[in-house]
Symmetry: D3
Subunit: 199 residues, 6 copies
Amino acid sequence: MWTYDKFLEYPIKIKNSNPAMAKIIITQYGGPDGELAASLRYLSQKFSMLTPQAIATCNDIGTEELAHLEMVGSIVHQLVKNASLEEIKKAGLEAYYSDHGRGIYPVSAAGVPFTASYIQSKGNPIVDLTENLAAEQKARATYEYLINMADDPDVIEPLKFLREREVVHYQRFGEALRIVQDYLQEPRVIVINKPDSMK
Amino acid sequence: MWTYDKFLEYPIKIKNSNPAMAKIIITQYGGPDGELAASLRYLSQKFSMLTPQAIATCNDIGTEELAHLEMVGSIVHQLVKNASLEEIKKAGLEAYYSDHGRGIYPVSAAGVPFTASYIQSKGNPIVDLTENLAAEQKARATYEYLINMADDPDVIEPLKFLREREVVHYQRFGEALRIVQDYLQEPRVIVINKPDSMK
Amino acid sequence: MWTYDKFLEYPIKIKNSNPAMAKIIITQYGGPDGELAASLRYLSQKFSMLTPQAIATCNDIGTEELAHLEMVGSIVHQLVKNASLEEIKKAGLEAYYSDHGRGIYPVSAAGVPFTASYIQSKGNPIVDLTENLAAEQKARATYEYLINMADDPDVIEPLKFLREREVVHYQRFGEALRIVQDYLQEPRVIVINKPDSMK
Amino acid sequence: MWTYDKFLEYPIKIKNSNPAMAKIIITQYGGPDGELAASLRYLSQKFSMLTPQAIATCNDIGTEELAHLEMVGSIVHQLVKNASLEEIKKAGLEAYYSDHGRGIYPVSAAGVPFTASYIQSKGNPIVDLTENLAAEQKARATYEYLINMADDPDVIEPLKFLREREVVHYQRFGEALRIVQDYLQEPRVIVINKPDSMK
Amino acid sequence: MWTYDKFLEYPIKIKNSNPAMAKIIITQYGGPDGELAASLRYLSQKFSMLTPQAIATCNDIGTEELAHLEMVGSIVHQLVKNASLEEIKKAGLEAYYSDHGRGIYPVSAAGVPFTASYIQSKGNPIVDLTENLAAEQKARATYEYLINMADDPDVIEPLKFLREREVVHYQRFGEALRIVQDYLQEPRVIVINKPDSMK
Amino acid sequence: MWTYDKFLEYPIKIKNSNPAMAKIIITQYGGPDGELAASLRYLSQKFSMLTPQAIATCNDIGTEELAHLEMVGSIVHQLVKNASLEEIKKAGLEAYYSDHGRGIYPVSAAGVPFTASYIQSKGNPIVDLTENLAAEQKARATYEYLINMADDPDVIEPLKFLREREVVHYQRFGEALRIVQDYLQEPRVIVINKPDSMK
């Protein structure tokens, strides 16, 4: 289970409204390679992990992604909470405003509600950890696209932090994958991927 | 942000495989009225809450729902991890097994991947808190349907715990709603729901 | 069954094209808290209602929401039917035009096709009626957001009518909920929510 | 707008529970070629129809499909309302029961919630009416598949009625298509499908 | 199976960036009436076709639609590959860029990922071929809408080619339908659509 | 573009009906890690590849996945085409039959229509190729789950062939990734991932 800590993993202090940036940054809230996708993926996969280190990695990173989700929600919230309707319309955020006001709702930049179809949990640690390497790459690429389009340091700094954390996660999953591969090569009573037909 | 605690909110110790029960209990993992829907809803809505009490309620309950999500994942995992393929086929879980093995993946009982379309965050505390009352009702009803179909006390006990927590959440959201309604009736500089056209 | 009456519940006479407003008003045609969602929800739930008054309420309001759906379609249609391609592009409606021309198709403001995942029918009148209170709140909030962004009285007047009808529906569902709660408290042969295991 | 008539278009009087049949018949409630898809398609397309006859046809048939939707809901309801949990499990309806009890909710036989992606409204009467011919064919084929799997005359009779109505609809849309094609061949001031670039 | 030929069915040589056009043309890549929908529909239906001519038609046209899919991808790619971020933002393509950079991903103009819910394969040749007539009509209408909004001959020429091929496909499916209808009218040992109950 | 060759990549000759196996094998037609997902992913990504070898790999493997898609469709078709309705019901395939008869339609084993949300094309070769390694792993795992549940050699043989091809694809994508990484390390005029802000 989790204890909620009443502070963000990294401070978000945005002074200027920018609904145009909010419109795209929200894709790391509810989009295909965002923090919700990441957290849900790792916290679901953990049940199938074999080694204590892999289980802990999934729990840790899955938990950190929740903090990232909270950060992204804070960024979007601060970018729109004081925006006037005129600014919202000018930024192309009027479609989102019609259904969610200035609230936070999990969608991609296009406005498509989050779907678990974005992620996979295959019941197989090698497969899952490889999926996670790809996931962290995709998340990092998205942060780079978002940083490309931002110009406010208040926004760029936390996005850069989030991008760097993806790099660290990539390394940790790579390490977990190596450990699981080693574990599976040693002879054991229960071996993964033996066909269930051998009973 | 969150700290992960390495224990479940309520113990899950299931001695007997039962993939047929796993097949339906998973709906409280990834289904329309399940714990993921609940957690995501409350943790998203918190950004729009007006009173400290409402923000805290959304954070607390949203965090507890994560623990519930973990419990439901544990129940499903324990019900299938030792099930043979024959049991899996007999239980009608072969479709799930084809795509996820014995892993945990967020779907409804029907096998439909989770979608944020199940939830709403409207940027309006009164509306959101009313939504939450309905959500807790729906979650409770689902637990009752699941309990109706279960016969293993190892399964029924945690399901009953989860159902009772929904009742408590319902009461807490009702309280939060009353406090927000009172707050909004007092005259203030910034009043919610004044048309943005009055600028 | 239904008889079609060849007039709108409230007149729609829009003199000026405005594809930008059409783009967002269509969310009450095919969006999460729109008239299609409402109608489908109530007309589906009616099969599980216990009291004649609740069944009638679901039928009445579900039928009225169809009239509202027709009104929203008329508003959108009148806002685009004479709009030039230049106006359509300028308004950001070119994506919709590519797939639907100037026709009416059930999407949210973001362009996401309607999904029944937006609604619930739980087979339990108390739960369903609570869901309906929340639904009417959400619909009303959406109309307020749309009214905030409108400036043409030809558009604002019918939107205000639709918003006021949501308030009336909210009250009627509240009344139906109270009647069902009273009904369920009186002792009867068949009692809802008794566990099916007691047979 | 519509007036609700408190009787079904065709009587549904089912004496025997059969949740296995309910499980598949519901696809004509919320599935790809069902009555909701049909009604929504025609009532949306009507805004783009050119001739009074085509508009009337869309309104009439769209309205009749609502009556059919109500019939299908009644069939499913009567097949499950007295079914015991044992019968429900045996029939493979336990997944649906977990999320909806014995209520009515718009899904396909597979349990996938209805999506407007099943239908199209193209803003072009010729295209739309051709789509409708295909839609009526698909609906008819589904009724034949359902009739193939049914053995209770109480169920087969209304299904046959519904299938025959699809045949009538097919003919009426064919007629509407011919009239619109004739209409479009006569020289007029406003001609459909002239490129908008000619302004 | 297929052999890949390293040339496009029709040359695409676009000299000028235009992310605004890319934004809508992509709907024929991943949208409801696009080339992916078409190809997938015909290549899936072929398994149920009765006559050699119908099977061949589905294979041929399904294969040609793959070439069209490739053409549409090339058009979009050439329209964005040299576009600056400023042009991308100005064109309203920043949402797509956030999740896919300048890559090609199957979405509609609105940004909704492709879903097979757009198509049907009914296991019945008459129904399927009627569906295909409608599909070709809808595809053609979309190309006309796109051509309406384009002004670059480098873009209009291939779009016109694609539109004309839809007309040819419509005619070929009409022919296949007639042949299948004739085939089914002649008496045979195996007759399609006889109720399976006659065994 | 493509030329259609009128033979399967690997022969499918299935002598015995088995709708229960068809029900799950179809997940490699329309499911999250199936052949349609694979083909669509690689043929979409090719537009963003940098090296001739990577482009060719995407085209080759994407084209081979089409042949695999055709094989899976053939397997499912042969498993159901002669199955009686009784066998279909007993196998739990009656839901699929209601909407598609004995036809082939792209769904997962659960009956969920294919969605492009299963795949990603990120506009970045390193990211895309890493995604592809994970995709091939997931496809292979699915084939192992299916082989676990099969007992007919006519079915197991082609499934094993398909699984082995995934292994080969994994190796080819690994090789392509290494070549692209080398390419990107050498100094060049056009460098990928330089922030667009440097203009």
